[in-house]
């Protein structure tokens, strides 16, 4: 039995034994008042503090258990972390650990080139691989999740049917445990899982459709009709183009660019991205309003007509046999990383959506009514009213999700285990493996890694707070 545990036992005995004696000598209880006695016994230290120091001592006694736990299990580990990082060996008794100074840090920082983990020592390789993967993950995941959370909050905040249900539905994954989430997605993303089979069936259906005679002409005519209708709706006469319809137009436009593949003329790939950029640019211009919006939309419509005529639909839709993808295992495809980002967003988005929703609902309604009176367009109202007013909440969300996603462990550990290779190996997994799963546990190095990670998180937080402070001053 260690010193600390015997101390705890003694404390417990003093509480129950001493409390019972003190209470029974100072107060009287009848047998029917056993419940009251138990209650008094539970609060015995508070009662004792009151009788010894008067009412002034009570708040300290009330704070004691909470602060004791904070002190022992949050603050003292924080300080202890530094100490452990300066010691070596694999003993778990603190006094048996030899002081080695900065050796563990030096081991991590033994690198020829800090940007290439392969040139580092073994410890440095693991640490920097984890660090860069985590930084990539944070950089990709945080903007996506905040964007999606804001979009979802906006949609759910609209006057739609069954608002409570939708809100609950988007929040539901937050309630699920990482193990359950991992099992569900492992099943969906399996090589023979439901995602692959759905994609296979879809592609098979498209292939069959593309094989029909006259499919080319039919597809062209159908898309032309849809394009005409959408353009007409977007360009209602006498008004500025409607943004919602332009969104539909932009989606079709991006698809057309992808299929027409104009980048192949200069023998390059990436038509899809070109299409996305063009569509977003179109949306941006139209959202600004004015005459340029109409002209741009008309130009885009003419362009899309040209592209429509140039597309051979039967070749576009004939994609050949579908090869099932081993989403979480195949190396050098980026898919494991993508699905990690996806699953993480899936499971945490609802929480941030709720916070943003509370922020959105705090915006006074009459601002929107005033904007409606001035016939402000929805996008302008969003940019000039919603966005500035929801900005403080959005900042909180960004900071919270930044800190949260920097510490990603559960999902990675259970879905990919850091693989394939080291593609999804994150920093917390590094700390965990160094300290707890290696045959020679190296607590010193894990603690050094934790200290470095704490520094990075602190820098993140302060940088973020500094930026937002600048914004709010403007």
């Amino acid at each position: 039995m260690t010193l600390a545990s015997s101390l705890m036992l003694g404390l417990l005995l003093a509480w129950i034994g001493g409390g019972a004696i003190w209470l029974l000598t100072t107060r009287r209880y009848r047998v029917t008042q056993t419940g009251r006695f138990a209650m008094d016994l539970l609060g015995f230290p508070v009662e004792l503090a009151q009788s010894l120091f008067g009412r002034g001592g009570v708040p300290y006694a009330l704070l004691l258990p909470n602060m004791l736990i904070f002190g022992l299990f949050t603050f003292s580990p924080m300080i202890l972390n530094f100490y452990v990082s300066f010691t070596g060996g694999s003993s778990i008794i603190l006094f048996d650990r030899p002081w080695i100074g900065l050796e563990k840090y030096a081991e991590i920082f033994t690198c020829e080139d800090y940007l290439v983990p392969k040139t580092c020592s073994n410890a440095g390789y693991n640490f920097f691989t984890g660090l860069y993967n985590t930084l990539w993950f944070v950089a990709i995941q945080v903007p996506i999740m905040c964007g999606v959370a804001l979009l979802t909050a906006l949609v759910v905040n609209r006057n739609i049917k069954g608002r409570g249900f939708w809100r609950a539905m988007f929040f539901y994954p937050v309630m699920l445990s990482p193990v359950v989430i991992a099992n569900i997605w492992n099943w969906v993303l399996n090589r023979k899982g439901v995602l692959n089979s759905t994609l296979g069936e879809l592609q098979g259906g498209l292939n069959a459709l593309a094989g029909l005679t006259g499919f080319d002409m039919m597809a062209t005519i159908l898309l032309a009709v849809i394009l005409i209708v959408v353009t007409e709706r977007a360009l209602r006469s006498g008004q500025e183009p409607s943004l919602a319809w332009t969104t539909v137009f932009a989606v079709i436009f991006a698809l057309l660019v992808t299929w027409a593949n104009p980048m192949s003329l200069i023998e390059m790939g990436g038509s899809f991205w070109l299409g996305c950029v063009l569509a977003l640019g179109l949306l941006w211009v139209v959202a600004q309003g004015g005459r340029t919006a109409r002209i741009t939309l008309l130009v885009a419509a003419a362009l899309s007509a040209v592209m429509l005529l140039s597309i051979q639909f039967s070749t576009v839709f004939d994609m050949g046999r579908y090869r099932p993808n081993n989403w979480l295992v195949t190396p050098n495809t980026g898919w494991p990383f993508f699905w990690l980002v996806f699953v993480f967003c899936w499971s945490h988005m609802g929480f941030y959506m709720l916070i943003l929703l509370a922020g959105l609902q705090a915006i006074p309604r009459d601002l929107y009514e005033a904007a409606k009176m001035d016939s402000t367009k929805p996008f302008r109202a969003f940019r000039k009213i919603t966005l500035p007013l929801v900005m403080p909440t959005l900042t909180v969300v960004i900071v919270l999700s930044l800190i949260r996603s920097f510490q990603i462990f559960d999902e990675v550990y259970l879905l990919t285990g850091g693989g394939p290779g080291r593609e999804t190996y994150m920093i917390v997994q590094n700390i965990y493996e160094v300290a707890f799963t290696n045959s020679q546990p190296d607590y010193g190095e894990a603690a050094a890694g934790s200290v470095l990670m704490a520094v990075i998180i602190a820098v993140f937080t302060f940088f973020q707070l500094w930026i937002t402070r600048r914004q709010s001053e403007l």
């Binding site: 508070v46 708040p59 909470n66 603050f75 929040f171 607590y443």
Partner: protein
Amino acid sequence: MSRIGTFLTRTKGNRDTADRFGMQDFLAYSYLLFGVLIVLVPVAWTFFTSIKPERAVDNFDTRLLPYAQVETDIPGVGEKPVWIYTDETGTETLVYKAGPTRSVTDVATLDNPDEVFGVPRDTLEPQEVVRIATENYLDPLLKRNGQENFNFPTYLYNSVFVTVVATLITLLINAMAAFALSKYRFRGRLTFTILIVATLLIPSSIILVSLFFVVWSFGIFGSLWGVIIPAAATPTGVFLLRQYMLTIPDELLEAARMDAASEWRIFWRIVLPLSLPALSVLAILSVIWRWNDFLWPLIVLISDPNAHTLQLGLTQFAGEFNTDFHYILAMTVVTLLPITLVFVWLQRFITTGIATTGLK
């Protein structure tokens, strides 16, 4: 034509106030539908797969209902799956396979098991019935059919113990701290408040190693108390309760003091019952945190199989029998069921509780 359009896009309200069902609404509803596809379908799919028989799960049968192939006992041959053979004229006969599956497979009818004849493979269809595979759930739970390693009652007991005890301790000590911070003026109040805020800035994953040392030296490493105690004090809980207790009028407390009630009795008899709404929100949050907790229990409890929580047990189970997807999915459903029921039941509390605290 335009009249039809008006009719179809009409919404509730009179001619002046009601907005038409526009493209924006359409986009919003399509987004929600997309959400259903992404959020609910995988979970529902997991459930529907977990009630399918092993063979259907192994073959990745994507039909919604749990189809199982009929098996009959053929005299002199034993249990055999039944197939439907369709000959050129379209008549269907029930057969079983007498040999391995080839392009021409040897089969025999059920009525006349000795007369073996060859048929093309693509004329055979399995004879299927809808059957809920309860064995997926019952085998691990009752430790049948070689599923002895999944000790469900122990895991469940550990999870429930950790969740209930930790929630009770959290409620008690957080309420005490919140009471002190909201209803007393004393030296160092600001310091204590700042200290509690500061704990928000220390994420649990950066103190993993040294917390391990602390927990070890307290002798609670490897026991459930090592999971319960370190996270019992939550800054979130203190602030949630403090905000609520500030709204309780001081006159109530003064009146009780007039009647010579001790401070502890005021706390227990007046403040706690009055802050029940905030306490219930914190209780729900705590239950969710504790039930779903993974990394810290993984470190503290992994060496002792008898101390595993349900989450750890499920991880080990999925790791050990990686091919038995039907059992893994069934146990996944068992694990997610309690939290889903709690959520459906208390959904409004949870969402408002989180929206008002803005903390996790």
